[in-house]
Symmetry: D2
Subunit: 353 residues, 4 copies
């Protein structure tokens, strides 16, 4: 592993929003990266970050307060590493502009995730998909790159399935999520919609979970990814939880497996060795909780500083092989922390220009 000799300056695009603020919180005290620049929409540009930003999750990191908010323009934002917390519609134009200008964009936006030449990566699961960058640079002519990290629910689900897919081959999946409001950003979900309520619909979410899970668990051969052959029946719901997406899953395998075998596969799995010692990596990426009523988002989302996915309730199923529940922190493991880990992985592998 190559640790950088001195802190690498990084920028955060979309820095005033919920995921943007989480990026800045994670960069506070980061051993490899130094928050050098923040950028946001025209509305905020030109003000101090501390003035332009309403603190959503407790107070803002002090080193960010006096940074000027820049427009999302690679001519003005100069850091080599760029974390993007932009909305998909904005990312569509802005992220390629940065990649073209030679920057490495670690994107939390959905705009490019399903492009054939764009890596969609969970550092512990499919770091080899970063090899797509050769094709990306070749095809697009970029000196920089776009690397994406996936939908917040898809990351939690794919992480929980990864050891099982390696061991038994996941073929059929029922999943029903209960997702935290922070996943919708700020102002996001109106309180009148969610206080004491459940909303059984999140626009485009079910498609993302299905498609991204297949890509995460897919096989790279040559410069092409074959999605994992998983039939998926997906339900996504919003619940009155602040942080932590929970997924109830029934899973069917190519080669059947018992709950005990599934449990053993979870305990044996530690993710890609390269990812294990990165600064943002938790001591254990997947934890099996044995209490009958866990995982729970309020009690488990912060495990591993928000980077651990907790799995529990592994039991047999009369229709598929097993049922289980997984839960993870959506704005950390499922968003900003995932991007951070991808950036660290790229640094460690010498993949940054």
């Amino acid at each position: 592993m190559i640790a950088p000799r001195e802190a690498i300056p990084v920028a955060v695009l979309g820095a005033t929003g919920a995921v943007g603020q989480t990026f800045i919180k994670l960069l506070h005290g980061h051993p490899w990266f130094r928050l050098a620049e923040v950028a946001a929409s025209e509305r905020s540009a030109g003000r101090r970050y501390g003035e332009a930003t309403r603190p959503i999750f407790g107070d803002l990191a002090p080193e960010a307060l006096d940074l000027p908010v820049l427009p999302c323009d690679p001519a003005l934002v100069r850091s080599p590493i760029v974390f993007s917390a932009l909305d998909a519609a904005v990312a569509l134009d802005v992220e390629p502009a940065f990649a073209r200008a030679g920057r490495t964009v670690l994107s939390n936006a959905s705009a490019f995730r399903m492009e054939e030449d764009v890596p969609l990566v969970i550092a512990e699961v499919n770091p080899d998909h970063l090899d797509l960058l050769d094709r990306q640079r070749r095809v697009r002519g970029w000196s920089g790159a776009i690397v994406t990290n996936g939908n917040c629910s898809a990351i939690v689900i794919a992480l929980a399935l990864a050891p099982l897919h390696r061991a038994f081959g996941v073929r059929r999946l029922f999943v029903s999520t209960m997702q935290a409001v922070s996943g919708a950003g700020y102002p996001g979900v109106p309180s009148l919609d969610i206080l004491g309520n459940v909303v059984p619909f999140i626009p485009r979410e079910e498609e993302k979970v299905r498609e991204e899970t297949r890509k995460f668990l897919g096989e790279l051969s040559g410069d092409r990814i074959t999605p994992a052959p998983i039939e998926a029946s997906v339900h996504t719901n919003r619940v009155p939880v602040e942080h932590g997406h929970t997924a109830c899953m029934s899973v069917g395998f190519a080669s059947s497996a018992s709950p005990d075998e599934v449990r053993a596969a979870f305990c044996a799995w530690q993710g890609d060795p390269d990812a294990r010692s990165l600064p943002s990596a938790p001591s254990r990426v997947l934890v099996v909780h044995d209490a009958a009523d866990r995982p729970q988002p309020k009690r488990d989302a912060d495990a591993g500083r928000g980077m651990t996915v907790t799995v529990g309730r592994i039991r047999s199923d009369e229709m598929l092989d097993v049922r289980l529940v997984a839960s993870g922190h959506n704005t950390i493991r499922g968003a900003a922390g995932a991007s951070m880990l991808n950036a660290e992985l790229m640094v460690a592998r010498g993949l940054l220009p």
Copy 2:
């Protein structure tokens, strides 16, 4: 239909709890039944109902306040119709004592639901299962009877599946529930467990949903019920909602059906004709809501005064046939209101002694 000439006196067992209070609320102004007696545990017996009872869902019906709380003893509780909101463990002894003493017990408890000679009935779905009472009386030698109404989630799920089972034959079911805290009674779920949280476990709930759904949708032939041949993968969750259980379902049929056909089956179905004009019957037992984000417990649980189940998000599934969401009021449609409707049905059919 036989409407009673004068109001029939009824008793509520377990009257001080959450479901007991709901029974008393539903009996307020009831055209056929008159709340004559309340009974509860030894701890409450001997006090006035208004003193013994902490109002859980707004104030108590005035006619109940001065009733003396009786012990759950058929020698002291004399009404011919008895609604039981007892805990299963207590019901195990008390309900047969009342049946032996000639009373008709409409039970919300789980103690006898799965007994072969005990009807488990949703008035609109399987009223013919009341024919089991002949066998029950014959086998047990009771002059009275026990009729049960099922688990609160199972009722909502079975009601939503009933039209589809009749039309297409339900064979495979994935269901993940999000259940209200009122389903756990009072004091029930501690606030520290559920505020801003999801608990992915409810003791014995998944088994009840699976088994009761099959029995509700089963076929009576002779004096035996053949459970519906449905493979079911069930997940049950508690969420911070006051009233209203929501179920995400993926459904596979014997003969495949499209979302449009499913929608049509829902709209055509009105439940058993005998149930339609009962006092507690809603004008429509099943409503299909066409908004993309409905049903929602907070906005839909009170439909049809809590007796309507709302269905929505009917869409195709890549693994089974369709996905959909159903939601219903758990303490009314899923508990006290279901018992009430069963009692009304029995009166209308002349099944009361």
Copy 3:
């Protein structure tokens, strides 16, 4: 009392918002008024009401669904009675235009409440303030009128204080509110701000409570209102409650009074006789609840179909005279229902053109 011979057509301005929807719910089945027209911002105008409106509190009244949404222009909206749920900034221009055009505007907006010639009226408390309309018409030259009904917290507080002010003279008031999110409209309070949280600030709310309470309880002499001489120390807070504003109050009187005397004053008071038999009047406008832990918004907001204010915890105070708690439904008693009652009062008194 003059009941109208036939239903009077009414319009709702700002019909798509939270208070607007509440107006339409209250007009459903109203014996005197008939919803004839709905109007809203340019964005909604021209569409069907059912299309332009997202249902916030359960489904919309069916008779409204097909009404065309009109712009807020008195040339197009022709009903003689106009209920206004407009934002203050919009009301500033629109409401006078309607008054000028001869319509009676029952306004829930804050724009004109503190104007010297504009009645700020709670029907049971200060119906005599409607006499200001002579001055209003004289000064402004309007053939119509604007009558306002006050801030949602101020109404609950003034209603609770009214009997005490008449009996003992309220002179000093500490009040700290806990206000429901529906008071902020839709989308209103973001869920990330209020789930599991308290926000101790509502813009301009403390001033409104202080000033409007004084005006409600003030004396009309000639064509001038002398505000009640109440020193007030006001705190206002937002809490995660859907409906129902709760106010903790410590009250000091001109002539001291004991908790028993205060209780007696509440029980004796029934509000202005003219208001008592109006269609929207509750059977009891103020109810004293004797349970140690009431009133509570969830359990008491719906009392009197949302028009009753519940008072409790009357106890002595070591600093002022008594402490007590009042709670009332903010979008009904504190907004749309208050306007409705004012309109009914005006009809009954023959004050409509």
Copy 4:
């Protein structure tokens, strides 16, 4: 300051409850204290701590899991420092038994707080009150001692008032609290009582806030404490918040003071110098937050690892001198953390036997 040469063994009484678990969390990694023993009721005694305890706030500290749960008997619990999270009724007998046996009991229970010879101490506010221990030992003949730390709301309120009382003399106080459910322990508040609700009553809480605030801010002369001469009008409320009690206060001084002067007094105050460098002391015990809508429990309770009280909204009052809002973490600053700091203070001052 005397830091101990090696970690002092400590015991936690009532270790399985909400405050007990918080003690154990705070002792994890403590530089001076080592969790040696846990004790609880007979029901739990004899089992492993990890088996006897349901984790309320995330997982339990690993070093506690295998400790045997002892009965609350000084013959079996041998640590010289004993943290008590017992219920008041149990504490009444148990705590004196430990003090008699020579142990120093740092008590979170209310049983002895208002005894004349028992110090009620906030380390930063009134450490001199520990001098009462001479009288306590003389009168009671104990070789050990009981030191109490006050009600969770009273601590937050007294901390916020301390600088103002020193500077201007607090004479009149209106306070209305909004308290978190964790203050009621586990299982504590039923979810059906508090989801989407406010409960304006907490048994005995208003008296505690009034009396304890006066004792905290009282003067020690000789071996007697003269309570601060503060007239107080107190309202206490439960709200659906997990952690963090918030208090709205209007304050009148002996010598009047403006909001600016009050702000300056807060900023100048740092608490007793002896308390400042203790292991559990936050870098700033009181923080003035300048945002218009702060403090908020969800965003501010964790400030200073739960030991900082945040104050805001300092503004003038038309009745008393100023209004302000204070918020602090109830189970840390208001309970276990307060005891911990008191124990550290006693160690640092050489007050432990």
